[in-house]
């Protein structure tokens, strides 16, 4: 960098800190652009679209709350989908409870625990479409394994058409969802368990606390952040398990397994009602935020702090 050259001297004037700032923002820019383009902008667009009457090829007209009014008062399918979504959200704690039990078991000093961990976790990273096909067939009325087992054990007289029954379709889908999420929950809980110092249990043992007390007084409180995380991620995963429902039931029979995300898809891409679908999307999003906030409060309110280090 010879100071004799005019262009170079200009570069020297650019202070080191400024150059650093430029580098940092240049590094952040591509990611920020992606999130702007595919998270922030869609969110805002959804909000705007939900107050409009619009379809491709037609100019948008501001119609105020009409979409929301239709959704809340004239749309039975929306309510059905909303309740089903709640049902799926409510199923997340069941999965987490099972995973907690399993995590405690594989956390103990037994032989082969690595193998068990692998087996329990293996379903999580697999393609949900394929998992849905497998479970669709497990629940099958004529050749499904579950009906075969139930009949062999004389639990039922005639096969249950799980996925074609209004009563059983949603629980069946939920079961498949839990089956796939179980390993994920377990891994998160295990990493939480590893942070609990062992001498805490020893001290409690000396004080005469039995296993149940140790679990309630030590394990659960110290695992709260992990459990909260499981719930939030599990909830997000479950309510967006579009592929599972699309393949297993398509939302049917009737609307028995319709959830908000499948309904939004159908509204948008089967009926080309983008504006109305946007109103449902906004409601869906507010619902998710509300539940996350509630879960955060219930977990003691400090889980977010732990999450942010």
């Amino acid at each position: 960098m010879g100071p004799a050259k005019a262009t170079d001297s200009k570069r020297v004037v650019l202070r080191r800190s400024t150059r650093r700032a430029i580098l940092i923002w240049a590094f952040l820019a591509p990611s920020l652009l992606i999130f702007l383009l595919y998270r922030i902008l869609p969110l805002l667009w959804n909000v705007v679209l939900s107050f409009e009457a619009w379809s491709p090829l037609k100019p948008a007209v501001f119609i105020g709350l009409d979409n929301y009014q239709e959704m809340l008062f004239d749309d039975d399918v929306f309510w059905q989908a909303l309740w089903n979504t709640f049902g799926i959200i409510a199923s997340a704690p069941i999965g987490i409870a099972i995973a907690l039990g399993l995590a405690l078991l594989v956390h103990s000093h037994i032989r082969g625990r690595e193998v068990y961990r692998t087996i329990i976790f293996v379903s999580y990273p697999l393609m949900t479409v394929a998992v849905a096909i497998i479970w669709r067939w497990m629940f099958d009325e004529r050749v499904g394994l579950i009906n075969y087992a139930a009949r062999s054990l004389h639990l039922v007289d005639k096969p249950i058409p799980f996925l074609n029954s209004f009563t059983w379709a949603l629980p069946s889908v939920i079961a498949a969802n839990i089956w796939q999420m179980l390993g994920f929950y377990m891994v998160i809980i295990l990493s939480g368990l590893q942070t609990i110092p062992g001498n805490l249990y020893e001290a409690a043992g000396i004080d005469g606390a039995n296993a149940f007390h140790r679990f309630v007084r030590i394990t659960v409180p110290l695992l709260k952040p992990s459990l909260f995380l499981c719930f939030v991620i599990g909830m997000l995963n479950s309510v967006t398990s579009f592929d599972l429902i699309y393949v297993m039931t398509g939302g049917g029979p009737g609307r028995a397994t319709e959830i908000l995300i499948t309904y939004i898809y159908k509204l948008g891409f089967n009926q080309t009602r983008f504006d109305y679908a946007a109103a449902v999307t906004v409601t869906f999003f507010i619902l998710l935020l509300g539940i996350t906030y509630l879960a955060n409060r219930l977990s003691g309110g400090n889980a977010g702090a732990v999450e942010r280090e």
């Binding site: 999130f35 959804n46 994920f184």
Partner: protein, 271 residues
């Protein structure tokens, strides 16, 4: 400590759970090589007369190679973009700069927006960009993931300050330090990024369903769902297809299980 306790009830429980986790796979695999329990009731546990007939059948019934190629291309683009973009953003976040709090807040709030809740505008945006039915359009929304950015950030944070200072004293440029010192030390973060972005793009279903128009652009999950819709439910070919689709993910997982689990829990707790 529970060391003195008898362990057989634990083993019994875990074996039962393992059976529940593995049985579906076994049954599908068995059907894919024998196709028998479709017609026979009660089913046999051990496959009788196993043969690769259904795999060959699938190969000729659908453009498997095409789906596979599409999936590989989309996944490769996604993985490359993720590693580059996330490493850059992760590195930036280890530095102190004005507006860092804002960026962190932005990232954390973006994490709360599930992509599925943005599909309609995302579709319209992709259309405006002219990327519908293209490889770039298929992979663009997954180009950067917040969890993976934080995985890189944590790995870069763990690089000792003194090492970077020493490198600087030696006259290495910022760029060389990142390339020659930080990235090699963050190898496990890179592994996590590769694995997670592979799984996400390989398994992705909803976005390709929306964005692809022509059968030539369909990825494996789409091909599988399509095959399901025009084949009778219970054919061995469908399950052979399932196995063929599951195999790559399964293999990768078994090979890099440690990195996978580590990355997932690190990403989840630090993100």
């Amino acid at each position: 400590m529970m060391r003195q306790r008898r362990t057989w009830p634990i083993h019994l429980t875990l074996i039962a759970v393992s059976a529940v986790m593995l049985l579906p796979f076994y049954w599908v695999f068995k059907t894919s090589i024998s196709g028998e329990n479709i017609f026979s009731y009660p089913p046999n546990v051990i496959p009788r007369d196993p043969n690769p007939f259904y795999y060959v059948d699938v190969w000729y019934a659908i453009p498997f190679a095409r789906y596979f190629l599409n999936s590989v291309i989309v996944s490769t683009i996604t993985i490359t973009a993720n590693v580059v973009l996330n490493a850059m953003a992760g590195y930036a976040l280890t530095q102190n700069f004005r507006g860092k709090g804002f960026v962190l807040l932005l990232f954390l709030s973006c994490m709360m927006i599930p992509f599925q809740a943005t599909i309609i505008p995302a579709y319209l945006i992709t259309g405006k960009l002219g990327l519908l039915d293209s490889y770039l359009g298929l992979s663009l929304p997954l180009f950067s993931t917040i969890i993976c950015i934080f995985v890189y950030k944590a790995a870069f944070d763990a690089v000792p300050r003194s090492l970077i200072d020493a490198a600087r004293v030696d006259g290495l440029s910022q760029w060389t330090i990142i390339w020659r010192v930080m990235l090699p030390l963050a190898r496990s973060a890179t592994a996590t990024n590769v694995i997670l972005s592979f799984i996400w793009s390989w398994n992705n279903f909803m976005w390709p369903l929306i964005v692809t128009r022509t059968p030539e652009m369909q990825t494996l999950p789409l091909g599988l769902a399509r095959f399901l819709s025009y084949q009778e439910d219970s054919t061995g070919a469908l399950y052979a297809f399932c196995i063929m689709v599951l195999a790559p993910g399964l293999l990768l997982f078994l090979m890099a299980q440690k990195e996978f689990v580590q990355g997932l829990s690190a990403g989840a707790t630090k993100g």
